[in-house]
Symmetry: C2
Subunit: 337 residues, 2 copies
Amino acid sequence: MNILITGGSGFLGARLARTLLERGSLALAGAPAQPITRITLADKADPPADLRADARVQFAGGDLLQQATSGALPAAGTQLVFHLAAAVSGECEADFDLGMRSNFAATHALLEACRGLGTQPVVVFASSLAVFGKQPGRPLPEPITDDTLPTPQSSYGIQKFIGEQLVADYARKGFIRGRSARLMTVSVRPGRPNGAASGFFSGMVREPLAGVRAQVPVAASTPVALASPARTIEGLVRAAEASGADWGPLTALNLPSLRTTVGDMAAALEAVGGREAAALLDWTPDPAIERLVSTWPGNIRWERARALGLDADASFEQIVRDYVRENPQAVTVSWRA
Amino acid sequence: MNILITGGSGFLGARLARTLLERGSLALAGAPAQPITRITLADKADPPADLRADARVQFAGGDLLQQATSGALPAAGTQLVFHLAAAVSGECEADFDLGMRSNFAATHALLEACRGLGTQPVVVFASSLAVFGKQPGRPLPEPITDDTLPTPQSSYGIQKFIGEQLVADYARKGFIRGRSARLMTVSVRPGRPNGAASGFFSGMVREPLAGVRAQVPVAASTPVALASPARTIEGLVRAAEASGADWGPLTALNLPSLRTTVGDMAAALEAVGGREAAALLDWTPDPAIERLVSTWPGNIRWERARALGLDADASFEQIVRDYVRENPQAVTVSWRA
């Protein structure tokens, strides 16, 4: 099987590639499992060395909009596309044109290129809980379900929601087999901070565990619908493997989320790293981040994902312990025990 | 005041222009009324002669995508844009690329051009009840409200729904003042049939009243959410005049609709035109039209429109009588009385 991952050098893309390479095969859209023979990672940035070293991995460096418009991607024979590439929420809010190009135009061009293959590839589109947003002067629906009307309050959310609509119609027309899955806030992400407004949800754990101070730009009471990297990748793979009948409607589904708060996340950090780690948090509000994050829901249901056998993480403390186990080099020695 | 109407030579565009010219002034977005000094009609087709004869009317003939991309439209000084131009539902289902160009790309280009004005013009976007659609194997929500999740089952519906999202974000960013209003099925439209799957909702009245046979391609029990041309224009004008606070959320609102059935429409035809008129109906199913129309809802609520003072037509029989009065030349003499 020949797979394309856009945003393949990013944290989620690389982790997805590793997971697929370890599994070695995939049962595409309910068909019998086939060996994975090729994974193409499309990204502006180079992929990590371990992925470059795998003979099954190919790197397609460059601008996705150009690659898709020229028909260079997806390559002929591509059976499955994970479309993860996107400008992140903070960037899109600061630079409207960047978001429209990277998220709106590139997604449309990629779908056109998939249609051009003429082989109905499976397209797993990584949408986001950022499609939901609290409108000024109105409460958020409680809880959010798979059937709640999204009212995005950010350009990123609007662009993701438009992507969902395009995927649905390209699938309805038979150009692709479409699977739009809304990712929850992913934490703990290793590595460097990115421009996402949600970046602090990882930084507030990652940085203190490395002995570095971190800003918490929102109130402790802020609710958050969160998933670990492992559960997130599990959701993307399940989306690729689900048959059309099991997947159900062409509308996007919510991936599972742990319902917690920023305060409880800090408590989990303290449980794992001790008071010393928690003391490295600076609780300094950032109005720009607060404005975006406060419009996102914390109470989200995932009935369709549950029917696919997916479930949420058990606790944020467990997520933090998994992070420490998986990223020993990024954790101050005294807290690794 | 300087107004642009895209699709300005079409039936609704021309009727809107006549209504505005008769009124002579408009209270834009809650501001004091200003005289209407210029209406630009953008369309591929020439406008009707009566509009060409009005010194306040200008015609911008050509392709909207090109006109908007080049910045030719809207002209500097345009304070209000009614964006009605669209490829219709049947066309978009038959020719996917046409719909994506005329509805998706042209709407985006027009919003970019409005943003380029730098003056926050009011943009009234004519969306459609076709954003709603019955998903295979699932019932439609009953009733449909302003907060129901649209699940479009046609490319036209998807493109209109994407237009709503773009209008909302361009408005949220302060590039425009956005007003997305979902038009109901408009009947009775005078003139020639167009490529809309909903065209028969007018043809089944208009043709028999002119002594011509007409096909009814769906079952008599088919529900329909319908509005007269007069109520539809009233909704568009109200959208332009509503203040931002009165309009409320940036999501689209449903315009009022009369809840009826195709069978009751035929009965209204008979009540006005007699058995002779009703006998001109051929009840011959058309699977392609039935497939589109049967996914549209008949039971739609319009709480936001009601709060703006809008209401539905009283009865379809009254709509038919209004049509006869307004279009005497299109009605066989014996039925004009």
